[in-house]
Amino acid sequence: MTSVKRYSPLPGFRLAMGYTLVYLTLIVLIPLAAVGTKTLTMGWEAFWAAVSSPRVVASYQLSFGASLLAAAINVVFGLIFAWVLVRYRFPGKGLIDSLVDLPFALPTAVAGIALATIYSENGPVGKLLEPWGIEIAYTPNGVLLALVFIGLPFVVRTVQPVLGDLEKEVEEAAAGLGASRWQTFLRIILPHIAPALLTGFAMAFARAVGEYGSVIFIAGNVPMVSEITPLLIITKLEQYDYAGATAVASVMLVFSFVLLLIINGLQGWMQNRHAKGA
């Protein structure tokens, strides 16, 4: 019996997959592997000492804590943003829509300097907050502010299309069955956009963990207080402590990877729940 060559209805699998793997290897995997191999040149003792000194641990806490908090804040406000952009028609809507992307486009250093100037004690906004005892620039608050700034577009842009997809009729059906607006939001709209919110959260978080440019101008970079991990890595590099730098970087990498994996898993679970067997 001669075998018949089977053609997939979706051609180009091998070619596309090949490019994907080569690309992923060149752009992502090899550089990351370099982090690993450089780290391996240290002994275990030296590695542990490099990644667990109090100053480094404090920076982990700030970097991951502020990133999670900033992503959470962006989930709330990004949702409101997306809501306004999808649901209402108003003059200047197009302008606001494009302003959302500005944190993507702006050089992060520019953003950092601008934020620092405005929120410092003598800045136009900082001056207003000072009598209330609220300090933003050169404190951990400044770090949070910068991370909120750069993370905003992610939640807006992931939630916006999904919210737009929700048919008006579904909400009308809920109202017709006696649900209040709040009940409709909690039981119908929120479950619908939850996977998108989570994606936005994960992206804003990932971006915030790696952010450097905007933060260092506003953070003040006080060791143990407002020093982020990426800055520590740069400091180590400037002192020619390459192994130490990669050691800290690898810890960050593992942390981030695990967190993103959890978020991804959660999201997959959410989506599968509604499409079982479909």
Binding site: E167, E169, E172, A173, A175, G176, L177, A179, I188
Partner: protein, 355 residues
């Protein structure tokens, strides 16, 4: 519960969607709003539900003016053309939704909710699907679930917007028969919107024919079919042959032929006449008086009846439908001359057609 629609008007910009519409739906009746797309029937249904609001006029539910009431407080069940099921909820949760969002003191115990959901799913004959999700159901099943969900809160009125519009022909036919049976069981006052005249005639107790935002005729399926009040209704319900002619001393003159009219039909002057395809008698030859002289163009003899296409004097096509056996007995074939004698003619003065 009865519904009274009083002088409802609604305008979208310059477009008059509804123009002074008044309809009474007695308690327990199943009424069809029938009309071509864009005639305002869905807008009217949404206004009854409280999903849209009229510019003027009243919606009176069970004697109470409900015009200003929110959809939440009107106690109507609404079934959408595209189901509008909650995708992230199981079928049972979909049906239970209306029961679960009630304020705590009115809410049933969870066990009672479960029991009620089960009963409703049995009513729509889909209790075996309780744990599935909407994406796993066929269109017909989804629509029955949507109906069960609407019925869960004991609506006083059931409103259905083209409920079978998105389904294929066979399922459609099954479902509308089933809807009729269901209505005979539970007797909730129902209004459904459709553009399918067959559906309206088959399912409803009464048909409201709407055109361009105005009510053309209200009546039982038989009465609107047999006694259309306007040329629009005659034309819209069922297939029909249209003739332009002149009424003079009790006869309708079409081309060179004169057809006798009943004493009450038509006043003298220009007129349009409608004759349904099954309301003709065929006689071979052109010798018949009071008939249309025509020639057979084409015969399609499939199913219970023969569809015969004929050309009248000036080439105008006439459709005739005749029992297959009766047609065979006549021994006619394509190209033969026949006389067509209408058994029933509806005549309207020409100016009525403009409406």
């Amino acid at each position: 519960m009865s519904i009274a629609i009083r002088n409802i008007s609604k305008q979208f910009g310059a477009f008059k969607a509804l123009d002074d519409v008044s309809i009474d739906v007695p308690s327990g009746e199943l009424v069809a709003l029938l009309g071509p797309s864009g005639c305002g029937k869905t807008t009217l249904l949404r206004i009854i539900a409280g999903l849209d609001f009229a510019d003027s006029g009243q919606i009176v539910l069970d004697g109470d003016d409900a015009s200003a009431r929110h959809v939440r407080e009107r106690h109507v069940g609404f079934v959408f053309q595209h189901y509008a099921l909650f995708r992230h909820m199981s079928i049972a949760d979909n049906v239970a939704f209306g029961l679960r969002v009630k304020p705590r003191r009115e809410r049933l115990a969870e066990a009672d909710i479960k029991r009620r959901v089960k009963r409703l799913l049995e009513l729509v004959q889909l209790d075996w699907l309780a744990d599935r999700y909407p994406s796993q159901l066929s269109g017909g099943q989804r629509q029955r679930i949507a109906l069960a969900r609407a019925l869960a809160v004991d609506p006083k009125v059931l409103l259905l917007d083209e409920p079978f519009g998105a389904l294929d022909a066979k399922v459609r036919k099954e479902l509308r028969r089933w809807l009729r049976q269901l209505h005979d069981e539970i007797h909730v006052t129902s209004v459904f919107v459709t553009h399918d005249q067959e559906e309206a005639l088959e399912v409803s107790d009464r048909v409201v024919v709407i055109n361009k935002g105005k009510v053309e005729q209200i009546g039982t399926p038989e009465s609107v079919y047999d006694h259309p009040a306007t040329p629009f209704v005659a034309n819209f319900l069922g297939s029909v042959n249209l003739f332009h002619g002149r009424v003079e001393d009790g006869h309708l003159h079409v081309g060179n032929d004169a057809l006798a009219l009943g004493a009450s039909e038509g006043s003298d002057g220009k007129a349009v006449a409608f004759v349904r395809p099954h309301e003709f008698d065929l006689v071979p030859g052109w010798d018949e008086q009071g008939a249309l002289a025509a020639r057979i163009v084409r015969v399609v003899s499939v199913g219970p009846s023969a569809q015969i296409e004929l050309a009248h004097g000036d080439g105008k096509l006439i459709e005739v439908s005749l029992g297959r056996d009766a047609f065979r007995l006549l021994g006619l074939s394509e190209g033969d001359r026949v006389s067509l004698r209408p058994r029933h003619i509806r005549v309207f003065p020409t100016d009525a057609l403009a409406a």
